[in-house]
Amino acid sequence: MIWVFSIGAIVVATIGSIFLNAKSPRSVRHRKKFILELNINRLAKELQATSGPKIAILGQPGAGKSSLLKNMTGNKVVPIPMIGTQTDATNWASDAGCNLLSRYKKYIFADVPGYDTASHPASIFLASFPFELFDTLILVIHGKLHSADERIFRKIHKSGRRFHITKSFSDSNDQMQRLAISKDIVTRLSLPTSHPVLFFSNRTGEGIKSVFDAISTAR
């Protein structure tokens, strides 16, 4: 008797799970990942079709990438990036037709959504982001260096493109801390100790100009 019931229970559970799967968070996540991949593929095509210095801004969510872009260009970048304290304010994972590139003067910017969130997993960026199609790659680090930062940086380094390491929220760090942070970052990224880390603050405006100078004065 008991085994009849248990088989019955398994059948019911299986049928139930098939129905539920249609709306489970898992399938939503899969769809988001799919859209993110579509958008990254489209990004590569758009980059190949445009000319001008191409710059990617990469970093953790909330590192201050969008604000940096907005501030660097004196609010004149088109379209103006979406800024917000919420996760995935810059979102490439829900609309397959979303805007991927912004322009300012001759420059073309990709304000890349923060990697390592539920809808923007670092693994997808590592696998398909077209690092080599940019002229300059800017890595924005907020607090401590995460393992995702290291992995992304290895890709940046491997692409052979020009890159700048920046540290946001500089208003929270005094000079002593900055020295320690710079040393820590370059060591972790296996860069020469003399490699500069550009400190900037979206809040005070400090260092914003030097990030832009670093982009614009290149060759």
Binding site: P25, Q60, P61, G62, A63, S67, I83, G84, T85, Q86, T87, D88, G114, D116, T117, A118, P121, H142, G143, K144, L145, H146, S147, F169, S172, N173, Q177, A180, I181, K183, D184, R188, N202, R203
Partner: protein, 348 residues
């Protein structure tokens, strides 16, 4: 009941009390300020804080004043795959979890939180570095609201969210109380004694929890007639009382620095209390205190303590003295801690 049975009973109760520990697990991205938060809660520097990254290769553990904190390493990383994570770090045994974030939410945090919910575990979201929450032209209240909405959306349900700043000492009282409210009765006392008070209310809570501990320690000191009190016809255990004093000082955050600072207080009464707290911490000082109270103590039935510590001890002159001595030290410690806290609240 003999006095020996009573002494055994008290020893057992003390051991039981000593075994009550509050264990809190923290998770969240590197740099979200977990170590700073632990130091702020304990009120001592137990965790190393630094701007440099040290890759957490194991769970870092800190213990002080019966509070245990475990800083969990990254969930679902190469070193710590999801499949073995819960078993490896014995996740179900923790009383409470703190998800510490200072930027936006990361995939690992969201996923780990979902798993905790399945286990019916209490998890409080701590949005640390509140001082860094800023956006051009947006009011702080609006930013907080957005943050709450964002976390709620990721968590998929209403949850407790506390904003803290270890730089400005804000939100720490709310966190203290939020944790307190989510613990069982026995653990609440432990928490109130161990966690640093950031409000006068919590300091009162701390005093109440300490009072219970004083009763047990006083009874233990009275039951163990080791050292005779000169001039009085009784013997008690000085060591237990000195240990009690040390615990009281630690629970109220009265370390050497704090006390030497208070000794120079412009309020004479406070300076005297600080001097006494230091003096009574020695055997010679304790003797002075004991003599003072033993001349005044009378044998009287502390009937309310009988169920806890037993008839024989509760009725004894020794307990009458040790309880008075313990409570008087606790009173002084409370007043000193209150003075420190008031000063700190005023300077804000």
């Amino acid at each position: 009941m003999s006095i020996i049975n009573n002494a055994e009973n008290i020893k057992r109760l003390l051991n039981k009390e000593l075994n009550v520990k509050v264990s809190v697990a923290l998770f969240g991205q590197p740099g979200s300020g977990k170590s700073s938060l632990v130091n702020k809660i304990v009120g001592q520097k137990v965790a190393e804080v630094g701007v440099e990254t040290d890759k957490t290769v194991e769970a870092a553990e800190y213990e002080a004043k019966g509070l245990r904190f475990v800083d969990l390493p990254g969930y679902g990383t190469k070193n710590f795959p999801k499949e073995t994570y819960f078993e490896r770090f014995n996740i179900p045994k923790f009383d409470l979890f703190l998800c510490v974030t200072s930027g936006k939410l990361h995939q690992a945090d969201t996923e780990f939180f979902q798993e905790l919910i399945k286990l019916n575990k209490v998890c409080i979201f701590v949005v640390n570095k509140h001082d860094e929450l800023w956006e051009d032209g947006v009011k702080i209240e609006e930013l907080e609201k957005r943050k709450i909405e964002d976390i709620t959306r990721h968590a998929g349900q209403e949850i407790r969210i506390v904003f803290t700043s270890c730089k400005l000492d804000t939100g720490l009282n709310t966190l203290d109380e939020e944790i307190y409210n989510n613990l069982s009765e026995a653990k609440r006392e432990r928490w109130a004694r161990g966690a640093k008070a950031y409000s006068l209310n919590f300091l009162k809570e701390k005093e109440a929890a300490s009072e219970k501990h004083v009763v047990l320690m006083a009874a233990a000191a009275a039951a163990n007639g080791l050292n005779p009190i000169p001039g009085a016809d009784i013997a008690i255990d000085f060591g237990i009382l000195l240990e009690l004093f040390r615990e009281i000082r630690e629970d109220f955050g009265l370390d050497d620095d704090a006390l030497s600072d208070l000794k120079h207080s412009s309020i004479p009464a406070i300076a005297t209390l600080a001097n006494n707290a230091v003096e009574y911490a020695t055997k010679e000082g304790l003797l002075i205190l004991l003599k003072r109270f033993s001349s005044r103590a009378t044998v009287k039935q502390f009937s309310k303590y009988v169920p806890v510590i037993g008839q024989v001890i509760a009725a004894g002159l020794g307990f009458a003295i040790t309880l008075k001595v313990g409570n008087s030290y606790l009173d002084d410690a409370y007043k000193l801690a209150e003075e420190i806290l008031k000063r700190r609240l005023q300077s804000k």
